[in-house]
């Protein structure tokens, strides 16, 4: 098991749009909520109602500041991070028991909670911090890509999505087969220049991130300004209102008072 399956034709994964993510944590809590009763159940909480509350989460949302050259202020990029279901995951090959494995059928990387010995080596091997150790159950927990949702026959087809994708209010998370070049997610990646995290590690992540788009502000927008009329702006506006809006009978000026206050009629 620990040995990887031959390259899987189907590569299920997520595409996360950093241009759209507002950092609302919907994906994080939806993930926690599903998985604490799903395949990875439970995701233990430590000190839930006292000092230093912490626990096991399979998806966490970071926030980074990015200082672009020429920009006065950094921009904030919200950055959800979870398992990337790598094509060549070291977390699988280092596993001494075979509990950690990559499914031949769709490429999902899973931990078998029945056989995991809790040696934590897989978490050391993962550069993405995707695996969290559940102290109270002595096993490793990780994103399952909601394997118990995406094929769930008790669900309507529209609900067969990872909990995080189903939840995402801005639509910043997409799920699909990245092994199929014609899938919606693959097209999105191609169109938006989706990228791998830490490609230099060589693990070939399946999940892709869509980069934030260039801003359209003072630094990179064409300088635009409205024309300034000659003379009094008020007079021009007055003339505009008169001519443009009431052209039908502009000569009917009885009882109209001009700007200097004298009656025209």
């Amino acid at each position: 098991m620990t040995s990887l399956p031959p390259p899987t034709p189907k590569k299920l994964g997520l595409v996360i749009d950093l241009d759209t993510c507002v950092g609302c944590q919907a994906c994080a809590t939806s993930c926690k909520e599903w998985n604490t009763q799903g395949y990875s159940a439970p995701l233990t909480d430590t000190n839930p109602y006292s000092a230093d509350p912490t626990g096991v989460w399979l998806n966490r949302v970071h926030g980074y500041e990015v200082k672009e050259p020429g920009q006065e202020h950094s921009r904030i990029v919200n950055f959800p991070r979870s398992c990337l279901h790598c094509e060549e995951p070291a977390c699988v090959t280092v596993c001494p028991t075979g509990a950690s494995y990559k499914r031949a059928e769709d490429g999902i990387v899973l931990v078998n909670p029945e056989t995991c010995i809790g040696c934590k080596l897989c978490s050391w091997a993962c550069p993405y911090g995707a695996r969290e150790y559940d102290q109270s159950h002595g096993v490793m927990k990780k994103c399952t890509l909601c394997v118990d949702r995406i094929y769930n026959e008790n669900f309507e087809p529209e609900d067969r999505l990872p909990a995080c994708v189903k939840a995402c209010p801005t639509g910043a998370r997409h799920f699909g087969d990245l092994g199929d070049a014609t899938s919606e997610v693959s097209l999105l990646v191609a169109e938006r220049g989706g990228y791998d995290l830490l490609p230099q590690m060589g693990y070939k992540p399946v999940n892709k991130y869509l980069p934030p788009r260039a801003r359209r502000d003072a630094t990179n927008t064409r300088a635009e300004a409205l024309p300034k009329p000659d003379g009094s702006a008020f007079d021009r506006l007055f003339q505009w209102a008169d001519k443009v809006l009431s052209p039908k009978n502009a000569s009917a000026r009885a009882n109209e008072i001009d700007n200097s206050g004298k009656l025209e009629g």
Binding site: Y64, E68, W124, E132
Partner: protein, 309 residues
């Protein structure tokens, strides 16, 4: 990386045990005949005892010790599994070697072959331990050609000083062993210095920008963590020792090893100095192993605020 004491204890104790076992096998090969029963049994019990303590420590460090046997299954890909398999396999020739070499069961013809097998397996086990760390690309300080040599050198150096100490207690203390131990201590010093020079020279050329892939836009810094209390990943992978503190500890390791060499030389005059030398060497081994973890930065720290890794 978080320096977990169970792992430090395991690797130093079992390392020393395998080192000692290797050297006992060498003794068996070079002499080709059984030792005295008491010496043979004592040294074998110490060697296998250290190994066993280490293995037990590592087993109980697991989340599910009762499932430890499963770790033997994935030897095709996992160095941890290989280590486990080798560790257990080594017991077989080691025990047989112990039996024949100590003279419990006289079989002089078997001493050499069993010694060769035992020694090779013991070294391979230590090498696998080193490989577990050396193959982790996520930790630059471990993913280093010197890592395995450090494990081997410290195993043999600590094994050698233990052997010297035992011998000194038994009163039959060959000067050769003094020089041999000193040589291994010096090798350990040199290998460790090379290791440190290597990890210090390795560029920390991955940045938060590389980790997030946002580096192309500009300089990336941390804004908010996903949670206000450190999580498992931060506690396990985010441990960082202050550079100044680490430098002091490094000096301490070298000083202890140098002192161990001097004490070992002193054992030429006062044999029991070898015991002190052993204590210092083991101390140095534990400290350097602690540093091995504490100084190692995991690449995931880039997601949690480290600027470079």
């Amino acid at each position: 990386m978080h320096p977990a004491y169970s792992v430090i204890l395991f690797t130093t104790a079992s390392g020393a045990g395998y080192g000692l076992l290797t050297l006992l096998a060498l003794v068996g090969i070079s002499h080709g005949e059984a030792s005295t029963l008491v010496f043979g049994l004592t040294s074998m019990v110490i060697a296998l005892g250290l190994i066993t303590i280490g293995l037990l420590a590592s087993t109980f460090h697991l989340g599910h010790p009762e499932r430890a046997w499963r770790a033997l299954s994935q030897w095709r890909s996992s160095w941890l599994s290989r280590e486990g398999v080798l560790a257990i396999v080594t017991y077989v020739p080691a025990l047989l070697f112990g039996v024949v070499w100590s003279g419990l069961h006289p079989a002089p013809d078997l001493i050499k072959p069993l010694a060769v097998v035992t020694g090779v397996l013991a070294l391979l086990t230590v090498m696998s331990t080193g490989k577990i760390y050396a193959t982790l690309k996520t930790i630059r300080a471990w993913h280093n050609p010197w890592t395995v040599w450090v494990y081997l050198a410290f195993a043999l150096a600590t094994g050698a000083v233990i052997l010297a100490a035992i011998t000194s207690i038994f009163g039959n203390f060959p000067t050769f062993l003094v020089y041999f131990s000193c040589a291994w201590l010096i090798v350990a010093i040199i290998v460790k210095l090379f290791y440190w020079r290597s990890i210090d020279a390795a560029p920390r050329d991955l940045t938060m920008g590389d980790a997030t892939g946002l580096g192309g836009l500009g300089k990336v810094g941390q804004w908010e963590l996903p949670h206000s209390v450190p999580n498992y990943v931060q506690k396990e992978m985010g441990y960082a020792v202050a550079r100044k503190h680490a430098a002091k500890l490094r000096k301490l390791v070298i000083a202890a090893l140098v002192l161990a060499v001097l004490l070992m030389l002193a054992a030429l005059a006062v044999p029991y100095a070898a015991v002190l030398s052993m204590a210092l060497a083991l101390f140095a081994s534990v400290v350097q192993r602690w540093l091995f973890f504490a100084e190692a930065q995991h690449v995931v720290t880039l997601f949690y605020g480290a600027e470079a890794a």
